[in-house]
């Protein structure tokens, strides 16, 4: 351990910074984090950072606090606002725009509303994943925010019918648009895995049907991966995560002003604990290195030191727990 940190600790600068970070976390907790992190929980989490070298331990805990102070959390209110925005900006406005364009830029509001209603009646909304997964879970809030009729929401298996034999047909031949809603896409692989065949089959049965995929949060690379690997017509995110959100990336936005804080040290520390928690993805799934969480779950693309709560040989108390998917392939 360098003498710099020791000297700063002696000068009280470390304590000062710790107080400052805690004060910030306190405000975050009582305002936008739904009081998810109180002092006891934070102390318990900081206790994960253990070292025989007390100075190193103190340094690690200070840097962990810094990371926590940068954590982006979206509570249910914020998610609702984003879902509202998704409906308004990615669905309603483009359809209205199309209606007006096809009708000599009409401003007749009654006509536009009638046409939009008609368009909606030929649209079905679906979640990504099975009914127990978060994409589907969000549909409930999406319906509330968009004030859409319940009948416009279906499960993906309802798209097709096998009433006329083993060959699938479209269950609703008049439908011209399927909109898939998701909460997060880090690399796009899960979305592709889920949507690829469904979209392919829809298109085979009716080339004219549009399939849209809208997600609240996505890495730009994930959107590209989905566009490149499926026949989806529109693929957009409300909150695009560019490479500045990659915690230890070259263009990272996490650049502390305080000289005591050393991002190289933070990187090394996070990787070292990450290796023990998630050896295959020590800095989050697909090396996304995110500091992001939602009220209903924390994506595994976030740093594992934040969320790890799975059973393995290493005891760890998470600060924003992730509820893992149980794929049933483990004992």
């Amino acid at each position: 351990m360098g003498n710099g940190f020791q000297k700063e600790a002696e000068d009280g600068l470390v304590d000062q910074l710790k107080d400052k970070l805690l004060a910030k976390i306190k405000v975050l907790s009582e305002t936008i984090w739904d009081q998810r992190a109180n002092r006891t929980e934070i102390d318990l989490w900081l206790h994960n950072f253990q070292s025989d070298d007390k100075e190193k331990q103190e340094k690690e805990r200070l840097h962990a606090l810094y990371l926590l102070s940068q954590f982006m959390y979206f509570a249910s209110n914020e998610m609702r606002v984003l879902l509202h925005s998704m409906y308004r900006d990615l669905i309603r406005y483009p359809i209205v725009e199309r209606i007006r364009k096809s009708n000599e830029d009409t401003t007749d509001i009654s006509f536009i509303n009638e046409e939009f209603k008609n368009e909606l009646s030929k649209t079905r909304f679906l979640g990504v994943g099975n009914p127990s997964e978060s994409g589907t879970h969000l549909l409930y809030y999406f319906r509330q925010e968009s004030v859409l009729e319940k009948k416009l929401f279906i499960n993906s298996h309802e798209i097709f019918s096998h009433d006329n034999g083993p060959q699938a047909t479209l269950a609703f031949p008049t439908i011209k648009r399927y909109v898939f809603i998701d909460d997060f896409s880090g690399g796009g692989t899960q979305a592709v895995r889920y949507l690829k065949n469904v979209v392919k089959l829809i298109k085979e049965l009716n080339q004219g049907i549009e399939v849209w995929y809208f997600v609240l949060f996505a890495n730009e690379s994930a959107l590209k991966h989905i566009r490149d690997n499926t026949k989806i017509n529109k693929c957009e995110a409300i909150f695009k995560l560019d490479d500045t959100y990659k915690c230890f990336g070259e263009n990272s936005r996490y650049t502390p002003d305080e000289e005591i804080l050393d991002m190289d040290f933070t990187h090394e520390m996070t990787r070292s604990y990450g290796d023990k928690l998630q050896p295959e993805h020590p800095l989050g799934y697909a090396d996304n290195q995110l500091l992001l969480g939602f009220f209903h779950n924390t994506p595994n693309n976030t740093l594992p030191i934040i969320w790890f709560d799975e059973k393995n040989d290493y005891e760890w108390s998470p600060i924003f727990r992730r509820y893992p998917k149980n794929y049933g392939d483990k004992a």
Binding site: E10, D15, D19, A23, K26, E30, Q35, R39, T40, E41
Partner: protein, 691 residues
Amino acid sequence: MIENKNNPFDITKAVDFSDKEINDYWVDLSGDSGFIKMVKPTSPMPMFILGGKGSGKTHLMRYYSYAAQKLRFEGDIVEGIREDGYIGTFLRCGGLNANRFHHQDSDINWSLLFSYYMDLWLSQLILMVINDATKNCDKFAGCEEKICEEIFELFSRPNEDELPPKDIGNLIGVLHGLQRQLDLAINNYSFSPLGMENVKILTAPGKLVFAIPQIISKYFQPFKDIRFLYLIDELENLTEDQQKYVNTIVREKEAPCSFKIGARLYGLRSFSTYSANEVNKEGSEYELLHLDEYLRNISSATYNKFAKKLCFRRLSEAGFIVPDIKGIETDIKKIANFFEIDEKSNFLKKSTSFVELKYEGEIRPYFERLKKQLLKARQGNEKSIPLSAKNIDSIINYLACSEYPLLEKVNIYLLYQDWGKSNNLVESAKIISEECQKFTVDNSYQCRQKQRLNHFQADFFAQLLRECNLKQRYLGVSDFIDMSGGLPRNLLTILKHIYQWSVFNNEAPFVGNNKISVSSQREGVLEASDWFFRDARIVELNGTVIQDSISKLATLFRDIRFSDKPAECSISTFSADLTSISATAQKTIKASVERSLLISIPGGQRDRNTKRIDSKFQLNPMLAPRWDLPVHRRGAIALSTVEVNAIFDPEYTDSLNELLQRRIGRMTAPAFGKGKFQTSSQNDLIDQFGD
């Protein structure tokens, strides 16, 4: 996480209260100091109620308004008002958007227009109050038409055939219509100045304000002898010229009306009137109530009780505690029990145990510092101090009293005192040690240690904390009450922040026998202190100058407090001859007082040399935690003219370092102002003030 209720101290501004909450959260002063005796709502003499932000002006004025009055009457409202002897009409100048009434390069008589607008507004307000108070009163119904007719007669009507309204409701409608016409013309003046041509002023300025109450009391017997009280709040939102309107109606007031006018300390821009520009004088035309000064000057027991009742009311209204059947006296005693505080007995043995824990087997930091100073003195070859290394060790051994770190601090201080007099330090340390031993056995033993502890205990404890790299401690409701400095909102703000920290620290504050931790109190107090400093930023003046000056002053106090031999105990106050300082320094001090950053101490202080009475100011105790200063006022230093200028006038800042080095140097070992040694404390000061 422990489930916590809503923060009972969240609302700190009376303007955010409903009328019901104004009554629910009302707390009066006990004994002879009750608010009604101060405010005198039935008095014919108008009163200006001045106070800093958070002194309680709005709560006080709204409490005497009709909206709160009527909630206090369970039965007949008219009878209740008769019993009170007054009916209060409340108006906030803040909602006026007073800037509308001024346009440069305009021929319009905006003053007259504003007067008319205010007349219409006040008239509507008082008529609404009367209408509500008498809505179930048969007696009033019998004279309502006549009252309306006579009030209607006060207007010069372009259409003489227009019939007067038959009831107050419709009369209000007529006035409202006139006000709307005015609003339309005034609001659109920039775009359509011609709209102003249709504006007609239909009454003489001020006429309605007095005549309406007169007509009502003439015809409605139950209100014959009551005072019609206009409560005009937030006067600071009016321009100087607009305040002249208020001053004029104050000067020209007619029975049965009177006024209570609330304003911030800096809010009074003028005392002149439209009555031939005559100036209103205190005692002749109005009384002055300086609310926070009043609260600071009542006995500390009364203020303490008032403040604790304030806390209790918040906690009981929010359901944290249930009032005791034994009464409020029992209730308020419970407040102190919610906070963890320092154990002060036995020379703070328990509260200073951190020294032993932190430096077990090591030399304690204050002895380390003393040792360095003694070595430095030896190297400096001070003739009067024959110090060998052995002597230095002896001195430290003599001063040591490991069981009581506080006494070790006193012993060192006494050595510094002797050192300043250039005595034989080894001999001196030996005597100090002997006295100390006797004192530890019998704490009534009269010795220098006892004397110094009486004055400097809090400062020595503060020094101990600092030397051990620990944070200062502002603990317990009594400290918080003292910090509020006569501004009740400050107390509520402190408790609001402490509550938030306590919840964050998972403590369930104000529940059962739970105690709020030292850490939660400390963080909450510090946050409240920072808020107070930020909130006092002055936009219209040069806010940086004022805040910088306060920082310099506070840093000086801090360096004195943490010097080796502080000249004064619990330092947070200074005195100065304001007549000799620069105009800018005077202006900065005045603005600091008006923003409550400084508190003017009535009576001032007699200068030791000239016997002149100088002005005296205390740094607001809310700022104490920000600079590790004491919240209680004891000692005061006399600042010279050049020092005051250097602190409060940016033009003289260059001389500040040298002046302050000289002052702190006198309190710093080993030279004690003899100019031989540059000390680290002095270096700190240079860092603070810039080089």
